[in-house]
Symmetry: C2
Subunit: 336 residues, 2 copies
C-alpha cells in the first residue's frame, strides 16, 4: 500500500534530523558530516526506505532509462538488453523497456509515454520515423539511437558497421575461390533510409567491386520464405551463383531449404552465409556462417553514451561497432 510506504519524513524523524538532510545523504550531495551520514544511513537501513521515483520526478531525476524496442522478435535484441543492463548494473539507473511495435504511430506513442513518465534518457532501437521527428524528441530528452545509419545531429548513435560486415563475408567467399556471389536483400517500400539492409547491400557491392567482380543483388524479404524464393530464382539461372550471401540469417535459412530441395549439397555445391548470428545459427544441425554484431557491445555502448550525455556531455557522438565473421559449416570452396 502507498499508505504504508516509508517516506523520507519517516527516516528524518527516526534519525532526528530534517528531511532536507536525509535528501542530501540519499543523493550524496555536498554538505553532510560523517556523523550525519552515519545516522541517516542507519535509519534508512532500519526502516528499509527506498526513494519514491514519482516524487523524485517532480523535481529532479527519476534514474530511469527507457529503451524503445521496435521489434521484440528481433533475434539480437536480448543481447542488446543484456549489454545495457550489464553496463548499468552497478549504477543507480534502472532500465525499462517499451514495446513500440513496428508502426511509426505506436512507436511515437510509446516514446511519448516514456517522456510522460519523465525518464532521464531514451535508447531507441531501430526507430521508424523521420530525422525531424527524431530530432524533436532529442531536444526534449537525451537520446541514443541504435541501428540507424546517418544523421545524428541532436542525439548520439550506435551502429553496427554493416559495410564492414558485408565486406567480411565477400572477402571470406572470394578467399575460398568463389566468383559468382549473389546477395539477397530486403525490399522496403520507401520510408526511412540508412536502414541496415540497405547498408549491407551497399557494402556487398563495394566489396565485390573491390575484388573486380560483378555484383548480383536480388531483393525479396528478410523472412524464411523470402530467402527461399530468392534462392530458388537464383539457382534456376544458367550460370547460377556458387555462393549466396543473405542479408539476414532468417533468410539464409530459407536459402538452405531451397538448396535442399534443389538437391544441392552445402557447402560443396552452394555456399551460404547470413547476417546477425542468431542463436540457432550455431546449432550443429544448421551451422550457418554468419556475421556477428555483438549486441552486448552495442547495448553497453549505448548505455554509456546515454549516461554520459545525461550527466555532462553536450556534443553528439556516433559510435560504430565492428562486426565479426563467424565461419561455420555452410561455406566452403566451390566444387570445380
Amino acid at each position: 500500500m502507498t499508505s504504508g510506504r516509508v517516506t523520507i519524513a519517516d527516516v528524518a524523524r527516526r534519525a532526528g534530523v530534517s528531511t532536507a538532510a536525509v535528501s542530501k545523504v540519499v543523493r550524496g550531495a555536498y554538505g553532510v558530516s560523517a556523523e550525519m551520514q552515519a545516522k541517516v544511513t542507519q535509519a534508512i537501513d532500519e526502516l528499509g526506505y527506498r526513494p519514491h521515483a514519482a516524487a523524485r520526478a517532480l523535481r529532479g531525476r527519476t534514474y530511469t532509462l527507457g529503451v524503445m524496442l521496435s521489434d521484440t522478435r528481433n533475434p539480437f535484441f536480448p543481447d542488446i538488453i543484456e549489454g545495457v543492463t550489464g553496463r548499468l548494473g552497478d549504477t543507480e539507473y534502472q532500465v525499462l523497456l517499451g514495446p513500440g511495435g513496428i508502426e511509426p504511430k505506436t512507436q511515437a506513442r510509446m516514446i511519448d509515454a516514456m517522456i510522460d513518465r519523465s525518464m532521464d534518457g531514451l535508447i531507441l532501437i531501430s526507430p521508424v520515423m523521420t530525422d525531424a521527428e527524431l530530432a524533436a524528441i532529442a531536444t526534449a530528452t537525451p537520446v541514443v539511437v541504435v541501428g540507424r545509419h546517418g544523421g545524428a545531429a541532436a542525439y548520439d548513435a550506435v551502429v553496427d558497421d554493416d559495410v564492414m560486415g558485408a565486406g567480411l563475408v565477400v572477402d571470406h567467399l572470394v578467399g575460398l575461390g568463389h566468383t559468382r556471389i549473389a546477395h539477397i536483400t530486403h525490399l522496403e517500400r520507401a520510408r526511412a533510409q540508412g536502414l541496415p539492409h540497405t547498408v549491407r547491400a551497399e557494402g556487398y557491392r563495394q566489396a565485390m567491386r573491390a575484388h573486380g567482380l560483378a555484383d548480383d543483388v536480388l531483393a525479396t524479404s528478410f523472412t524464411e520464405e523470402g530467402g527461399f524464393e530468392g534462392a530458388r530464382e537464383l539457382l534456376a539461372r544458367d550460370d547460377r551463383p556458387t555462393a549466396i550471401f543473405a542479408g539476414a540469417d532468417i533468410a539464409a535459412l530459407g536459402v538452405l531449404r531451397a538448396a535442399d530441395e534443389a538437391g544441392l549439397s552445402v557447402p560443396e555445391d552452394l555456399s551460404v552465409a547470413g547476417y546477425d548470428n542468431i542463436g540457432i545459427a550455431s546449432l550443429k544441425r544448421i551451422s550457418l556462417t554468419s556475421v556477428d554484431q555483438d549486441g552486448h557491445v552495442i547495448g553497453a555502448t549505448a548505455a554509456r553514451l546515454l549516461v554520459e550525455r545525461i550527466e555532462e556531455r553536450t556534443r553528439s557522438v556516433t559510435s560504430s561497432v565492428s562486426p565479426t565473421l563467424i565461419v561455420r559449416g555452410t561455406t566452403g570452396p566451390p566444387r570445380l
Copy 2:
C-alpha cells in the same frame, strides 16, 4: 524540456476554468457539463497537453503496468508481450517491461524498482522466488503471475496446462502406434516447484500410465546439448525408444542432431516432438511437431485479469490456457 511542458494549469487558463475542472475532464470523472467538456477538450487539443505521469502518481494512478521478464531469451515471450499490449491497446494503460534476469536477487530488485515507480499493477513472468515473497509483493500491489503452477492466494495466475500439453503429445504418438516413448526433462537443483518442466514430466507419466505403458524419463537440461546428450543415451539402449518427447523445443533440436549422427531417419526410425512451438519449429527444414502455448492468449488473459483486479475485483483467480498440438514432419508411425 520539462520547463516547456504543457501543464494542467495552462489548459485551465486557456479554457478559462479551474484546474480541478480540467482534471475531471481528463479523467472522465463525474460532474462535467457538455459545454465544459467541449471547452476543455478543445484547449487540450490546441495545446497538445498530456498528463504528467509522475505527478499523477503522487495522488492517483499512473496508468502504467509493469511486466517483469525473467528471461528475455524465452522464445515465446514476444507472443506474451503482444498479447498483453494487444489487449491494452485501446485502454489508457501503458505497458513497460522490466528485464529481471534469472537471479532471484535481480528479479527482486526489478520488482522493487517497478513498485517505486508506482506502477498500477505487475505481471510477473516465471518469477523465481518463494511463495511467501510473492505474497508479500502481492499485498503491496496488484499482481498476476504467469507460468507458475500452484499457490495463488493473494494474486491471480495464468498458466499453460502443461499436463494437458504433455498428454496431447503422448496421445498423438500412441495413436501413431508407438509404445516405447521416452521423455527428456530438465534437471533443476531444487528451488522453486510447480515449474513447467516438472509439470510436463508429470503429465507425460500420467498419460503413459493411462495408456498402460511404461514411462521412461531422462533428466538432462533444456538446451540443444542437453537434448543431444539425452537422445544419445536413449538411442544407445538395446530396446531404444521409437519416439522421444523433449520437454522443450530447443532440446528437441538436439535430439534431431543425435538422430542424424546415429544415422536414423526421422520420423521413420525415430519420432521427435517438442514443446513451446518456437519460431524455427515451423521452418520446413526443421518441421518439428510441438505443443503450442498460445502466448497471445496467455498475455491477453494476464492483462485482462490485472486490469480487473486493479479496478474492482478482490478475490483471486487462476486461469489455465489450453495448449494445442502442432503436428509436423518429425512424428510418424514407427517402422515395423
